[in-house]
């Protein structure tokens, strides 16, 4: 299997469908394998990998139900700690966002904002909203492909943190277009979320002011 990404908790492999699942199948699949950590006691290691594998698969499915494109999950294996899922062909949003024309960029960001709102309305927070976890397909869909840090959390605070993380990602990776991109994300978010969206946006601002990275004079506390 071809290793395509080695993360902190999981390895991602690209493999043929026919090889992993069924000989009659065609195309490619992604195998996400949560690897054993020798520093943890086996009981805890097993429990964390197993529950996270199951949770992520469930989040993929529920996100899809909420109207957010996610890869189809073909198989969840809590013994080998693997998820086999659809390989989404397209481009990482991280690599295209800066290059798009402004109108196309705004459109893309609005879609992202709308999808984050759909997750939030479904009580899901993504936990790791960065443009490297989003794939733009040829037909203009944006797939969220990693729910490894996601959870079911309906609280206002969790939603605020989620959007805050996305803003942070835009600031660090897409610093040339941050403001424009974030404004479009928020526009898409507010339209989709409807009533209560302002409260979430207000919470994002509040979270920023608790600030890890902001100058002292702009902080809510000293």
């Amino acid at each position: 299997m071809a290793l395509i990404k080695k993360g902190a908790e999981a390895n991602l492999y690209l493999e043929n469908f026919s090889k992993v699942l069924h000989t009659a199948g065609e195309g490619k699949v992604i195998v996400k394998h949560r690897i054993k950590k020798s520093y943890r006691v086996p009981e805890l290691d097993e429990q964390l990998r197993s529950s996270r594998t199951a949770l992520e698969a469930k989040l993929f499915a529920d996100a899809k139900l909420a109207g957010v494109p996610t890869p189809i999950v073909y198989e969840v294996d809590r013994v080998s700690m693997r998820i086999v899922m659809e390989f989404i062909e397209g481009k990482q949003v991280k690599l295209v966002l800066d290059k798009l024309r402004p109108a196309a960029r705004r459109k893309l960001c609005k879609i992202i904002g709308r999808q984050v709102a759909r997750l939030h309305l479904a009580g899901i927070v993504h936990g790791d909203l960065t443009t490297s976890n989003m794939i733009l397909t040829r037909d203009g869909k944006v797939y969220f492909v990693d729910f490894g840090l996601g959870e079911y959390n309906p609280s206002l605070e969790a939603k605020g943190v989620d959007l805050h993380l996305l803003k942070r990602a835009l600031q660090s990776i897409h610093f040339k277009v941050t403001d424009e991109a974030y404004r479009a994300v928020i526009a898409g978010y507010m339209r989709e979320f409807g009533e209560g969206a302002r409260e979430v946006i207000k919470r994002v601002e509040e979270i920023e002011k608790r600030g890890r990275y902001i100058p002292k004079e702009e902080r809510a506390w000293h």
Binding site: K6, G7, A8, E9, K37, S38, Y39, R40, V41, E43, L44, Q47, L48, G127, D128, L149, V161, L165, R212, Y213, K216, W221, H222
Partner: protein, 326 residues
């Protein structure tokens, strides 16, 4: 030039004397131990005031120098307990004024990292700093020490201390918990809380105490408490290492004394092909030498503090300091 560093953020009052070549000439400290319960800030501060002179004399004697050989005074500006910080700062101001030498306020957390970089010759480590007062994963990026992950509630050292106290283990609790943990056999499920890059230990502590009251074997609980808390620390550290693509990992702070935590981090470092460093224990715990050394680095790179800038800061954050010396 010789720098005299004064540490007084919590229960340790320390004085270190370090040369600009990085040689530690003296590193003397006295530690306040409460008769019962946790650290009372006012009592700790009174302890510091009462022990300041003796600690200073001890450090000078150890370094075989006189007070007039000192060319720079550094002290812990924060973060820490207000009364303790103010006592150390007052001592620093008094000595600096008496000697007519510059005074520099140092960020305590950054000092932990800098002394480790000095003694371990680490270039750019991801640092796990764990103590009774702080729990942070720190890495240098774009001119500042960034906090990649930290506790959202109590520090891990505090989690262990309070647990120990609640189940009747004598002070200091950490070493006893560690010893009992080695005899523990059964892993009991306890709350494992990692939120993104951040950690939480208050629920873990409460549940561990509750399990003890419910009659579980203390050795098993100690084992499970350590395994759960430390696994979370190692996981967040690993995430920071993966994110920064660093090849060096450093452990510091009082909890660095725990050999199980060291072992776990070393395993993780090996799996990632990274080097693993732990400074000598007297430099992992709160100490004056780290303050002195960081003060020297700042001074050498032109940092000057007016008397007004020496006002202590209880919530002084790691990522507020412009690290001009790197």
């Amino acid at each position: 030039m010789l720098c005299l560093g004064i540490e007084g953020t919590a229960h340790t009052f320390g004085i270190g004397i370090v040369g600009s070549n990085g040689r530690v000439l003296a590193n003397v400290s006295r530690t306040y131990v409460p008769e019962e319960g946790g650290i009372h800030p006012r009592d700790a501060a009174q302890f510091h005031a009462a022990n300041a002179r003796a600690t200073l004399d001890g450090a000078l004697k150890k370094a075989k120098i006189g007070l007039y050989d000192v060319g720079l005074i550094a002290f812990s500006l924060g973060p820490g307990l207000g009364p303790c910080l103010r006592t150390a700062a007052t001592a620093a101001r008094a000595i600096a004024a008496w000697l007519h030498v510059p005074i520099i306020g140092v960020n305590h957390c950054i000092a932990h990292v800098e002394i480790g970089r000095l003694t371990e010759r680490a270039r750019d480590p991801v640092t796990l700093y764990v103590s009774g007062g702080n729990t942070q994963v720190i890495a240098f990026d774009a001119g500042r020490y960034r906090v990649f992950g930290e506790t959202l509630d109590i520090p891990v050292g505090n989690c262990l201390d309070v647990f120990a106290r609640e189940v009747g283990i004598q002070h200091p609790g950490g070493p006893t918990v560690e010893r009992l943990a080695r005899e523990g056999k059964r892993y009991i499920n306890l709350p494992y809380v990692v939120k993104g890059m951040d950690l939480s230990f208050s629920g873990l502590m409460t549940e561990a105490v509750r399990r003890h009251r419910a009659g579980a074997d203390l050795r098993d609980i100690c084992h499970s408490l350590q395994e759960t808390a430390f696994a979370a620390l190692v996981e967040v550290t690993e995430r920071a290492v993966a994110h920064t693509e660093n090849r060096e990992i450093m452990l510091t702070g009082g909890v660095a004394a725990n050999s199980r935590l060291r072992e776990m981090l070393k395993l993780m470092a090996n799996e990632r092909g990274a080097k693993f460093y732990v400074p000598p224990m007297e430099l992992c715990a709160d100490n004056g030498a780290m303050i002195a050394w960081t003060g020297l680095l700042m001074h050498k790179h032109g940092v000057k503090h007016s008397l007004a800038q020496t006002q202590v800061r209880q919530r002084f954050r790691t990522d507020e300091v412009d690290v001009v010396w790197r």
